[in-house]
């Protein structure tokens, strides 16, 4: 499948998800069995996106700063994001940590 096809399929699907209850299903309330899992979609998906990207180096699990500075930088970012919601501050802190570790090791 071409990348253009992928992007448009996601776009159409995302629109239909947004439209769902407003335009199609109407005013029926969402049943509990659907509502409860949806609550965990964001934390589960986002953690699943972050973890492999920062904990794996060339497919191998490593947190050693010399080979994988991203693990420690991500930890720093998590701690700062916990304290502030400022996007620019978190990005800067994470990037600076990576650059510093790359420079030291």
């Amino acid at each position: 499948m071409s990348n253009v096809g992928i992007v448009f399929a996601i776009g159409i699907g995302s629109y239909l998800i947004r439209l769902s209850f407003i335009g199609i299903v109407g005013n029926r309330a969402m049943p509990d069995w659907a509502l409860v899992p949806l609550r965990f979609v964001a934390p589960a998906v986002l953690a699943a996106l972050v973890a492999p990207a920062v904990l794996l180096h060339e497919g191998v699990l490593t947190v050693a700063p010399a080979t994988n500075p991203r693990a420690i930088a991500a930890l720093v970012a998590v701690l700062i994001a916990w304290k502030t919601k400022n996007v620019a501050v978190v990005i800067t802190a994470g990037m600076v940590t990576v650059w510093a570790l790359q420079a030291v090791f």
Binding site: N3, V4, G5, I6, V7, F8, A9, I10, G11, G13, S14, Y15, I17, R18, L19, S20, F21, I22, G23, N27, M30, A34, V36, P37, L38, R39, F40, V41, A42, P43, A44, V45, L46, A47, A48, L49, V50, A51, P52, A53, V54, L55, L56, G59, L61, A73, A74, A77, V78, A81, W82, N86, V87, A88, V90, I91, G94, M95, V98, Q102
Partner: protein, 232 residues
Amino acid sequence: MTHDPSFRRTAFNDGLRAYAPLVIAIIPFGLVFGIVAAGSDVGPWLGGATSVVIFAGAAQLATLQLIDAGAAGAVVIATALVINARHLMYSAALAPGFREFPRTARFVLPYLLTDQAFAISIVRFGQVEEPVYRRWYFTGAGLGLWVTWQISTVTGIVVGAQVPGSWSLDFAIPLMFVILLVPTIKGRPELIAAAVGAGVAVAAANAPYGLGLMIGAVSGVVAGVVALRVMR
């Protein structure tokens, strides 16, 4: 009750004003997305087009990441739609407030539905029942975010084309996800969902077709549901 244009403008401006403080979070996110898109295999044009076609930051970033990692097309689509599944909740919660909108508005405005537009509107819809006011309030908040997102994405793409690869700017992707992730950890079940999602995604990183993320995400959701049951 008749509504002159100034009534609509007031409602629109109220929505826009409620969104305004969030600009501080949207602009850096859009810039980073644009910079990442410029350096991605998807390229600046299609990468930039995702801001109009998909218009959902986390799903857009995941799409680029998965395509760059060589994931199968169907897996990329399914994963992005799982990420956007939370909009089902928003759509269900807003549906009663949209009921009296004209048909066209009920089909066009959901395109502007985002985490932020939802959060802003659901509060106001609880205070004001007037459908014309609600419609233009939502439009003001939604369109404000849309315009900010497009401008910051394009700016990021232009800037990103000048950034050398040695700056490790691809690391900004997981950093963006960290920023989105942390506020979702509202309690222990969410923490368990995130921890299991992370652990399984790492363990399944070499799964075929780029399915690792999906396997991790589904495991995390199941873990969260189970944790909630057990703790209740």
